[in-house]
Symmetry: C2
Subunit: 135 residues, 2 copies
């Protein structure tokens, strides 16, 4: 039994060929891909894969806490297989999304923390690479 299967089982998700491939993709590509990007990347390995399955699977992962939904991009939903609390920075020029290590719970009003399940911190600006090119 491989590591990805174990990971999925740990979140109460039955492993299948498709689920393992999608999670493995998320874990090895920290690019915060869209459903479509995942689909395009995996269709060679799994020619019968359907986009519906990618959507279903990502939804399942998020519900079970095995992945995170990222709403920083107004156009598409993006996903992250790294589930520890952290913030996201999105470059307004190249669109790249970068992880920022911080625990957002530290920022919550103290008298409010008990009621909170999820918190998202999204930041937008111009990344170092794009900043360099434009000057």
């Amino acid at each position: 039994m491989d590591t990805t299967s174990q990971y999925l089982s740990g979140y109460g998700i039955r492993p299948s060929v498709q689920r393992i491939a999608i999670m493995r993709y998320l874990k090895s590509n920290r690019t915060h891909p869209t459903a479509d990007e995942i689909f395009e990347a995996l269709r060679m390995q799994i020619p019968t894969l359907s986009k519906t399955t990618v959507y279903n699977t990502l939804k399942l992962f998020v519900e079970q806490g095995a992945a995170i939904y990222i709403g920083i991009d107004e156009k598409n939903a993006r996903f992250d297989g790294y589930v520890e609390p952290h913030a996201h920075f999105r470059c307004k020029i190249c669109g790249k999304i970068i992880d920022l290590e911080m625990n957002m719970e530290d920022f919550l009003p103290r008298d409010f923390r008990g009621q909170i399940d999820e918190s998202y911190f999204y930041i937008k600006g111009i990344c170092e690479d794009c900043n360099r090119k434009n000057n």
Copy 2:
């Protein structure tokens, strides 16, 4: 010249009947409405109003900094006429969105602040009202 006209002009936006009505709606309804909610609320006052105009206008407001785009709800874009830095809490039961007074810039890594244009802090949980009803 009324207050809303002045407000729009201050952001470089030429006032029109439609723009004034939409901004006035945002300013007097702190409910973080969707484009469709604004459209439905205003079509009585302005029977010729089109949804395209609502979309165009909200986009213009956000570009000019006269309103804020809120991406806390995966289904629809929401908008806020209150533009001072603050966070948003969304109840997972009733869907209500509440403003939280905090300046997110305080949370940004110091060596990073210069590169940042916008920051969004979204929190999800169960609001006091819903919590009371469910217990």
